[in-house]
């Protein structure tokens, strides 16, 4: 799947997840991904817009983009270490 110039290696559909929530699903996906790979997370949780960028920055990965997809938000994250 392509998002502009990026090839997405893994899609995590966390729509409707309140517990454990989209960020936990992202952390799980990142742990199971190779460095350099790209993960897309779908979220309907309003808190994700704050907490996903915060965690990605603190964990030292790269937030490639945040896209409003009409009804949900897509976050594209690259594992960098």
């Amino acid at each position: 799947m392509n998002r502009g110039e990026y090839k997405v290696d893994k899609v995590v559909d966390a729509r409707g997840s309140h517990c454990p929530g989209p960020l936990m699903e992202l952390i799980k996906a990142i742990k199971n991904t190779e460095v350099g790979q790209v993960v897309a997370v779908y979220s309907t949780d309003s808190g994700s817009k704050t907490d996903i960028p915060l965690w990605v920055k603190k964990a030292g990965h790269e937030l490639i983009g945040v896209y409003d997809r009409g009804g949900y938000t897509e976050f594209i994250v690259k594992k960098t270490r």
Binding site: C19, M24, S46, D51, W55, K58
Partner: protein, 377 residues
Amino acid sequence: MPKKVVIVGGGTGGTITANVLARKASKEADTILVCNESQHIYQPGYLYRALGEIMDESKIIREERKLLDRRVKLVIDEAVKIDIQNRVVSLMSGKQLEYDYLVISTGSRIVPEEVPGYEASYHFYSLEGARKLHEALERFKEGVIAVGIGGIPYKCPPAPAEFCCLLDYYFTRRGIRDRVEIHYLSPLPRTFPHEAVAEAITEMMERKRIHWHPMFNIESVDPEKKTVNSLEGESLRFDLLVMVPPHKGAEVVERSGIGVDGGWIPVDKHTLQYKDYDEVYAIGDATNLPVSKSGAAAHFEGKIVADRISSEIMGHEPRAAYDGKVICFCDAGFKKAIYMSFNYENPPKKPRFSYMWYLGKQVVNRSYWSLILKGYI
């Protein structure tokens, strides 16, 4: 001729599925439940065993046979391979079970050894782990206790925060609370995934003087320096570390090539069917659904699957669909608890700690054997 329904795994979800199916399709289905163990353990009891509130383990253990409808055939054996192409489950004894419908409820397993230095930590995710943690807590006189998470996903996301609150209660009762620092290492920027709930839990933690550290996912432990290190690059010194171990799907799932990312089975979030195999379902911890790995999720999913299979066997269109329902009680000690209920569409509301929900949790604990596992509620 009755249809053969094989359920692999006799935890909460598998037991409920078997009992409901045996009632709904008593003549039309031949319900076979495969369990590794003859005993069934009420897993939320581990936390109370660790804190010494339950010392009589017979309160949380029952014979699986006694929990089942008499029409369910119980097979005590271990499933070693699931062949979904040929609809056969192979068992450790060498027996093979053919099926018309398959329900995989093999749960999760803990793999503490995946965290370097794990041997310096304790946990409450098995009976043996809870016993050892209890002994360590009884010896503990003063210092820093850190409670953190060694891997995602794990069973019951609120459990570590709940454990911190109950540690406050435990040390207060021992009269040494002032000599103990409790640190909660949250994997998230909040104390709980959902904002409204996090607000209530954070307030409670602050009142209880529990220090919480945002975005601290445990990567390793240094047993000599007694430090726990996060994958985000932070470190904390501890005197006693309680680490939720990483979890994985059952070995049979990995061996059978039906799991992804650590052995979790991908299923449709509403029908709970595996890929294009309409006769194969998975429920509970075994799935990769974005809901909490908990008995509550397995409970509701099991009832849906039993409904769908019995409908189809009786010639009806299976219409039951899982809506993501989970309910959850979180005990804060001092006889106060919160209750949450949510599904895919409706997030939890900000909960209130009360004695009423503490009693609610006690009622659930007691009704588990007689009502929940039987599928009556």
